[in-house]
């Protein structure tokens, strides 16, 4: 068994520089369309009409993206007849919902997570699993998986909430002691994605239990999930809003 010790030691430290520094590796995020300024209202309508999930809305001469609906189909980026969409190659997409309240600072370096699969496709869960792996290693940042909801501070949920998972999800939430925060990861958990609402699934976790933080993406890459967790811990700010989005809905940047 000594071979394993040597193998492990030789591998060295592989953890991402994020959040202290930037992540420079390629292929860590699929990117996402960003809010885009175009030449004419008809261009805006045309660009927005490419989106099959209604994530893009035309506002005069701009297109505003609802990140929680984007499923990375790349159809807005691949149509040569339409104006180019402003592509956001990053991953810091997580943001608060209106229900969110800050946690006490005592929690900021020790948060225990319970995960519930509420009908996720497997990709969200695979990415959540990567967060626990050497490249991302959430332990170094004070996040831990707990085997019981009684010890959990964060409920991490993926999936649109299928019919049969409503009850297990409610029960898990009820079994967690306050203060507790719910993080919905992935387009399905935020908006139902390509599945909900329907007879078999809800339109996301918010239909069943209150959600505090959303992490957009289909699936959100590991660094996006990490950003969402750091957001709960109060150690990272939420995704910024563009001036285009602020102008479109009249809310501040």
């Amino acid at each position: 068994m000594a071979g394993w010790v040597i193998k492990g030691a030789r591998t060295g430290i592989r953890s991402s520089a994020y959040p202290a520094g930037p992540e420079t590796a390629i292929g860590v995020s699929p990117g996402m369309p960003g809010d885009t300024a175009v030449d004419s209202p008809s261009d805006a309508e045309g660009l927005a009409s490419l989106c099959p999930t209604g994530a893009m809305t035309a506002h005069d001469v701009s297109v505003v993206v609802d990140r929680g609906r984007c499923v990375h189909c790349f159809r807005c980026a691949q149509d040569a007849r339409m104006p180019a969409v402003a592509w956001d190659p990053g991953f810091e997409w997580a943001t608060y919902t209106d229900a969110y309240q800050a946690l006490h600072a005592a929690f900021s370096r020790s948060l225990h997570i319970r995960f519930v699969d509420a009908g996720a496709c497997g990709a969200c869960m695979s990415e959540a699993r990567q967060v626990n792996n050497p490249y991302y290693n959430m332990h170094r940042l004070g996040f831990f998986i707990t085997p019981t909801p009684r010890n959990a501070d964060i409920l991490l949920v993926a999936g649109p909430v299928s019919d049969a998972m409503r009850d297990p999800l409610r029960k898990t939430y009820a079994a967690m002691p306050p203060p507790k925060r719910v993080v919905a990861i992935g387009a399905c958990a935020i908006s139902g994605g390509v599945f909900g609402p329907s007879y078999a699934s809800a339109a996301g976790v918010k239909d069943i239990i209150p959600v505090d933080v959303i992490v957009p993406g289909c699936p959100p890459p590991p660094l996006a999930i990490l950003h969402g967790l750091l957001l709960v811990a109060g150690r990272k700010p939420p995704a910024p809003r563009s001036s285009l989005a602020a102008r479109a809905d009249g809310r501040p940047e």
Binding site: V5, K7, V28, P30, P52, F74, D117, Y135, F195
Partner: protein, 538 residues
Amino acid sequence: MPDLPDGADNLARAVALREVCKTRWGGRFVPAPATTSGHERLRCHSSEVCDLCAWLVQDVGYIFATLVAEERMEDGVTLTYVFQQDSSGSWLDVDVLLDPHERSVPSISPLVHAADWHEREVEDLFGLHFEGHPRLGEFVLHEDWPEGVNPMRRDFDPARALEHRDEQAAWAAPTIVTAPGAFAMPVGPVFSDFAESAQFLLETVGEDVIHTIPRFFYKYRGIEKIAEGQSTGRVLLIAERFSGTAAFAHGLGFCQAVEAILHCEVPRRARALRTLFAELERLRHHAAAITAICGSTALAVANSQAALIEEELLRLSGTVTGHRYLFGLVVPGGLARDLADEHRPLLQAAIGDAAGKLNALYDMLCVSSSFLDRLEEVGVVTAEKAMEYGLVGPVARASGSNRDMRARFPYAGYDTAKPMIPTEHEGDGYARLRVLFREAEQSAALIHAVLEALPDGAIATEPDRTRAGAALGTVEAPLGAAFHWVRLGESGLVERYRVTPPSFTNWHGFHLAAENFAFQDFPIILASFGLSNAECDR
């Protein structure tokens, strides 16, 4: 196989089939014109379906592939039993047309056990009764589902919210152990780690688990129903996303069905690249499965090493295709994005690197006795049972089967880039692990082979979308054979979409491996099967 010539071409087979129907069956079954996907077709009355299916499986050497139930507007429910014959690479559909008022069909499962779960699913979703089936009742739809509501029927509106029955409705596990003190210990549906939702009732008398009762479909999202009446572009999103860890394979299966209906010829470069991406997905998938097996035995360093390889392959996929899970890549007619020339050397180097690291990991695992002790003779599935249950994929290939759609029914570029199919014979956890390693090695070799002979040219053709019809798309997904049956209407919208994923086929046989074991072996048996609930439940 006494009646039909083996390996004959399609026309000769059709003639022979017609002859056999006349002589052996006295004209009881009528061969119908072949389907769009080139399947032979027999039409029979529901009272004769058992005779016919049993003959096909027991005497002619056909293997049950899938059951497609469909309710067309004009008439009642049609049941299509799809059979495949690996030796000749041919297909046979048995069509049973039911009258609109007919609600009962004889069950073929006592004779063809692989059809067991298919019939249970149709019973739940269509409200058809299968006479003689040993176990019908609650399956896809759980206990709080309203009685008598069958979601796959035409008159069911998928947008309406359900009126659930009492949510505390009692559900009793169908236990079989009657020893004093025996009880069923529930595991799931929520697990203590990152695990998919499913429940397993472990029947035990204390230490040893005698029998496992799996309970699935916690993740049923009704994808077959919500696909109805949608455009192919919309259904493609669903096909890719119902099982995200095998997105490319399932997207490809759906596109191949659509292409068969539209008579669309895919350019050579796109066919070769489809093979490349499918193998990239398989390689990454198997690296993840190996990570899970190492994790289940608590071998922490091996778990981390495999996880590193998995993440490197995810990054590679993200770099060369734009998406870590290959979403949005395959489209009817070809591919949406090309492989950039500057990525070819990167791909070559990274695949070689991953294959080398997997080899090194395998060499170390093979001499770690504490690891091998946990896998060897654990979760055994015999070759006979694997055949009886019609198991597919790495699970079947660890039990001596060499079934693989890529070799038997080549698609994409597999007619030129031929895979070698590794098989093992013990059928235990260690055999399944070895199959995963050897398949990963094969995938890497196939990627190199495709890159060396990558044709130039277009990556997509625009299909002529005026045709209607039905076709079956088949692929070898990372977990095994997947069947995507699609019907397009005159308007070009999807009228029926039926997916038979490998996890559905293999979970059916999971209980075989989960009998008479010690409690602590359960995670290992689960990981060595490596199945997906998202894929099974749909």
